[in-house]
Amino acid sequence: MPDMRIEAVVNGRKIARSAQPHQRLLDFLRDELQLTGSKDGCGAGECGACSVFVDGVLMKSCMMPVGKAQGASIETVEGLAQKGDLSVLQKAFHKTGASQCGYCIPGMVMAATAALRANPFADREEIKERLGGNICRCTGYQKIFDAVELARDVQNGRLPATALAEADVSEGKFIGANVRRIDAPSKVSGALRYAGDMTMPHMLHMQVLRSPHAHALIESIDTSEAEAMEGVEGVITCADVPGEDGFGVFVHDQPVMARGKVRYVGEAVAAVAAEDLVTARRALAKIKVAYKPLSAVFDPFEAMKSGAPVIHDYAPDNVTKHIPIRKGDVEKGFAQSDLVVEQDYETQAIEHAYLEPEAGLGYVDHDGVVTIVSPSQNITHHRHMLAKIIAKPISKVRFIMSPVGGGFGGKEDMIYQGMLALMAMKTRRPVRLVFTREESIATTAKRHPSRTTLRMGLTRDGRIQAVAFKMVCDGGAYGLSTEGVMRKAAILGAGPYNIPNLQMDTYGVYTNNTPSGAFRSFGALQTQFATESHLDICAERLGLDPFEIRRINAMRDGAQTHTKQTLKSVSYLRVLEAAEKASRWEKGAPTSRGDSRSDLGGEGVRASCSLGARFSADVTREAAE
């Protein structure tokens, strides 16, 4: 079947291009017209990074076969800024700091434009509702809603156009001032190119074959059929690694592609580069891998038992890292206590869910420098690791950090850059890899799931006498940042409290689950959840106010931590005070509450989710008419 010919008007210009019948409008805009302001964040209609106007109606272009756009008039984010001048909404996004990583912002600007076109007087609730199809991971939305309200008021003349201008920042006083982000115009206009938006002449498209098994030996990999396919320019496996294969943040335990065995579902086994994406995907299906399944272990406590399946030969007990810290004598401390409370706490794996799925471009430049462009959060470390893997001097390895469309720690690991390098070296052509959303969720690091047993002894006056804290984390199949997360957890886990007798043990354990890695707060979240929940329980048992029990034990200026660090200044008491005030806390033990509570409702407390703001807007409008 021949390609289709699509005739349409795009941003006011007539276009006529051939398209493949399976393409979505999003593919057509990005690949054929190079309009990469519209992003592919999920490919499933969930995120709205691809929102465009089709005949004046906002649509998700990832949910629209290109055939539906035949003869249509399409407006993309690139069409909003006429003659290079940002639209009022774009200026408002710039003014309020509504763009952070920026990946969702073109779609968000489009949705906001649609909202104000539908109702130029929309209130905040209606704006929220009309932006409901667009997800932002960075901002928490408030600055985005602020921007839409600001644009609305400027458009309606309720605010002067100068409200969009940069506020004066007096010399040296930047904290607390509205300082505009210098990269915002490129984000609100869709001009900024992320790795997945970049192309190079003669570029190949790479796809990765991934393990369907959690734990299995690889008996053979037969790539011959894939390699023989027309349009396939290269197939790589671990056999293509010329140097010392292994990466990781602390221990280099992960091969670029599975070597000898696979350790989790989704682990890279082989990769194909082809002239186009469809050929690359078809070629993956032609690679034959013979697996011999091994018994797998999915629970860290099971993995620590003797006789459990061993995941890495170097760690026969499956322990990636154990961090023990001791201070004083906990048994003595418990003996001095009036109350000893023991409780278990559990947290789950969490996906970072940045809007930009992993993507990268690899090429070998004219001087033979292997170059990787990707949103890596750790390019210097990656560069050193890659040099060893491909057996080249460091001067022949270059990493370029592309704009990061959200990272939150999830882009610290070199999980695909090695494959790009090997493929570029093998094919001598530029190679691009763009993860699907599903691939990103299934194969990249998660926040460590944890189980903590916390034992705390206190005297009747609320003073902590002893803490025994043991946390076991599921590190998944590879080390990645596990060691660092365990260290941070052991250092920060007991909280900003003076604890005379303390025993901290944190364990990162190998399992056949998706690897765990860096995630904002690096082990503090899991441990603080346990420690702070525990203090509330102890306050209840002692009949103390939860703020009070914290004040009693709080570190003050000059305190020494259990890792022997002296803290010159400790802001904790000020933080407590601010939190107590902002939450309108009613003093007393948690058990002392009556039927009525003054801390519910009011400023700072949001109502539960509802929909239908536009119905009340309709009623208001009808009444006005």
Partner: protein, 306 residues
């Protein structure tokens, strides 16, 4: 990834049947495509190759809609968003705008069609319970020996199981017809994992008409979705509610009646709690919108249902 060799957009029903006959056994019909595209991805169907996609959404007959005192006729390719922006349609189908606002988001509602929602026959489909409450009838067209024939099937008989309908091979759902219920109060209660863009865990469509005093139900139509393989029209509850004056006791007893119908594969206890709450909230909201006397419900009940 969805792959196809041809994407065809017939401009009439006859042309659509020409294409169906030419590509029999190797085609699939498409309307909004909002279900098809996410289906053809990793974790669900994966890469799917369908030789021919026939997009019927632009056939004029399938886009037409007529709304009168007597009834409503909706072309199958009517986008869900029309229930929100066509005021006359909203008045004739008072639960539908409330359903539509919870249905995906503004953008997908412009693509997604009411006919597509019906033929998918998902147990969690949002659009079906309000249609069932309207006693809607679907019109199905096929072409035999060169002549287009139609048959009409009540929606309750059309949807026979999860993903299963009475649609026969090479048949097209062309329209949906139902009574116009002006003057009824409508509500649609829904819970899902996110405010926008999720299908229902449980949903309830309620349509009520009050007597002149605003104290008795002249008519009540209730349909629950998400609790079993197909939507459940609650005829016995409707009879019970019409049998006497509206008071707290009758509402409470009515709310309890469908709880035993929950037979979903997962989270039954949760769904039972939701059903109980939704029955009260759905009835109170619908009655209020039907012009109930302000004192009909206690302030406590009103607040709980806000």
């Amino acid at each position: 990834m969805l792959l196809c060799d041809a994407y065809l957009t017939p401009k009439s029903l006859d042309e659509a049947f020409d294409l169906i006959e030419a590509h029999r056994g190797r085609y699939r019909l498409v309307a909004g495509a909002t279900d098809l595209l996410p289906w053809a991805r990793e974790g669900r169907a994966g890469d799917v190759h369908i030789p021919v996609l026939i997009d019927i959404a632009t056939i004029p007959q399938l886009r037409e809609r007529t709304v009168s005192e007597k009834g409503v006729r909706l072309g199958a390719a009517t986008p869900i968003q029309r229930f929100l922006d066509d005021a006359a349609l909203g008045r004739a189908m008072p639960a539908m705008p409330r359903c539509a606002v919870w249905f995906a988001d503004d953008q997908l509602r412009e693509a997604a069609t009411i006919g597509g929602n019906v033929v998918n026959a998902s147990p969690a489909a949002d659009g079906v319970p309000p249609l069932a409450a309207h006693d809607a009838v679907v019109e199905l067209a096929s072409r035999k020996h060169g002549r287009i024939e139609t048959r009409r099937v009540p929606i309750g008989d059309f949807i026979i199981g999860p993903g299963k309908t009475a649609l026969t091979e090479d048949e097209i759902l062309v329209a949906i017809e139902c009574a116009a219920l002006q003057g009824y109060g409508g509500s649609f209660e829904k819970v899902g994992h996110r405010r926008s863009l999720v299908i229902s865990t449980v949903c309830l469509a309620a349509l009520v008409k009050l007597d002149d005093d605003g104290r008795r139900f002249d008519d009540v139509r209730l349909c629950l979705g998400g609790i079993g393989p197909v939507p459940d029209r609650l005829r016995d509850v409707e009879q019970f509610l019409k049998a006497g004056p509206v008071d707290a006791d009758r509402l409470a007893r009515a709310a309890e009646m469908p709880v035993s119908l929950v037979r979903s594969r997962t989270r039954q206890d949760y769904r039972r709690d939701v059903v109980r709450g939704f029955m009260l909230r759905g009835l109170v909201n619908a009655a209020r919108r039907a012009g109930a006397e302000p004192d009909l419900f206690s302030a406590e009940l009103e607040a709980a249902c806000a």
